[in-house]
Symmetry: C2
Subunit: 328 residues, 2 copies
């Protein structure tokens, strides 16, 4: 039996909310018998669902934060929004983790402002497990801190190493710095300073990683400022999506190619799944007091299920306590 | 008949030099009857080749800049290196353009320090024509300026627009700013300031482009600092390479998949060619007095040929004069 965990879930998160959220939560509850969910959202959405599902409690909220709003302002103003309430439940100990596929900016702001930073952590950072058929890699920060000081990257490396350890089971993750050359004197002023600090302070630092090394399998963790990380993440997604679309077009172009496609279907499906961000179950905001996991806006029910289960796994792994221990 | 053009070529540039350079130059000379080449490199390499090829002159040099050297220092010290001599030939009017597949950093330094900046251009920038099956896009800067001021991006946008116009024939290229959100208040301090300047000063500015939009076809030109651009470019290359390798593995995994592969071979070959950086013929350093085009270190003979021909095309297009006109 696993440790009992309660996760608050934003019923309004994502392009296809609330239906896919409800479907995903139902699947997560069915799969993990030690999981409870507090579902945050409009009464008419969350109450009927909670009434008909075991281990699910409704928390009616009256406000919604849209994707277009300024994240920090919205979090400060909309105290009864599903995102703010979900994070407050963690702060108050009713839940141990929060999951949303809603506005990433608002989730990061609420995680930091409402749940609160772990003492000693300068900046919480968004990590993502990049799906790769070669070997998964943790990229951090992918958007919580568009502007960084070089010293933040030391904590990003430490936190992301704990994550790689807990989630991927890697004892000593190889940490790379996302940079534009292999040699330590390469890169922007920022990257050069970050390189020196990582070399000094992070024993498992293994040097610079270039854009082409991100999915190459040489590193387990790659750190960078949140601007560069977000560009890198979305470039990978965009490139893979474009290529798969083109391949599909080629396969459907004639009778002969359709037959060829049938013969390769299983393998290519497996490859598509291996680079599918929905499999990973969302990106954790490392460094806040509890699990705060953000899913893709385009999440379907399976991605929501994986995100809720990943939140429970995060709590059970003791991530928060380990980060607190290194932050002292 | 095309305008007669002389291009100086670095015989030592690239991982497979000098043989692939000689092969590529021979092919370029055969293809373009109005092209002359001044081949720079060790006497024993360049002299026999020039003696046996029309429209090719040898310029013996005694030094070599390796990939590992500090680019600007090497350019200052090694005045008789093939890269410095090649750029000096343009400066002195013996050639109108220079091509090398050698150290990118050294070529950028020699282009800027030896050929010289066009008057009024704050920072020359490296542009690349990103191959995409959807629609090619010019990304600039991809590595000449790891640290930028927001105002540099205005000139990058102007120069890259001229390039897109000349090379892709687009009358009014749609210019995007590489950023981490669509809205103008998104991104780092740098990106927010750059956005405002581009909006004010570049009439064909069309807003922010996210990583996933780079290959999407919505923009003709995407500008950014050279750090972000280099990460983006190499991430695209790495992702495409990884996926093609995986697909190849899937195709070779069984008898059935091998048959399927045969049926899709032509289409997939075309797709691979459409994302092949060798087709583009190298990246121009925009804003210097002459063509200065840098090829991939891994260039084969075909990539060298395309690079030399692209250098001649650059000269004939009048790029340098048009950039000088906007820089005033």
């Amino acid at each position: 039996m696993a440790e009992k965990v309660t996760i608050s879930v934003d019923a309004l998160g994502g392009d296809n909310a609330p239906q896919v959220v409800l479907d995903g939560v139902a699947e997560a509850l069915a799969e993990d018998g030690d999981l409870s969910v507090i579902l945050c959202g409009p009464a008419e959405v969350v109450e009927p669902f909670a009434a008909s599902h075991d281990r699910c409690v409704a928390r009616a909220t009256t406000e919604e934060i849209s994707m277009a709003e300024h994240p920090a302002n919205a979090v400060r103003k909309k105290k009864d929004s599903s995102i703010v309430v979900g994070c407050r439940l963690v702060k108050e100990g009713e839940a141990q983790g929060f999951f949303s596929a809603g506005s990433t900016g608002a989730c990061l702001a609420a995680g930091t402002l409402v749940m609160g930073r772990i003492k000693g952590i300068a900046r919480p950072a968004l990590a993502t497990l990049l799906p790769s058929p070669v070997k998964p890699v943790v990229l951090c920060d992918v958007g919580a801190n568009a502007d960084c000081k070089p010293e933040y990257l030391v904590q990003f490396a430490e936190m992301a190493s704990i994550y790689a350890n807990k989630i991927l089971g890697i004892a000593e993750p190889r940490v790379g710095l996302l940079n534009i050359g292999e040699e330590e004197e390469k890169g922007s002023q920022f990257a050069q300073e970050a390189h020196q600090l990582l070399k000094e302070k992070v024993p498992n630092f293994a040097g610079n990683a270039e854009g082409r090394d991100v999915l190459g399998g040489e590193f387990d963790v790659i750190v960078c400022d949140g601007f560069t990380g977000n560009v890198c993440l979305k470039t990978i997604e965009g490139t893979a999506k474009m290529l798969f679309k083109q391949i599909k077009g080629i396969m459907m172009s004639s009778f002969k190619t359709k037959i060829g496609a049938l013969m390769l279907k299983d393998g290519l499906k497996g490859l598509a799944a291996s680079v599918d961000p929905d499999e990973a179950g969302g990106a954790p905001l490392l460094g806040v007091k509890g699990a705060c996991i953000v899913g893709h806006g385009s999440s379907g029910a399976r991605a929501i299920k994986n995100g809720v289960l990943a939140s429970a796994r995060y709590v059970r792994s003791g991530m928060t306590e380990e980060i607190a221990a290194i932050a002292k």
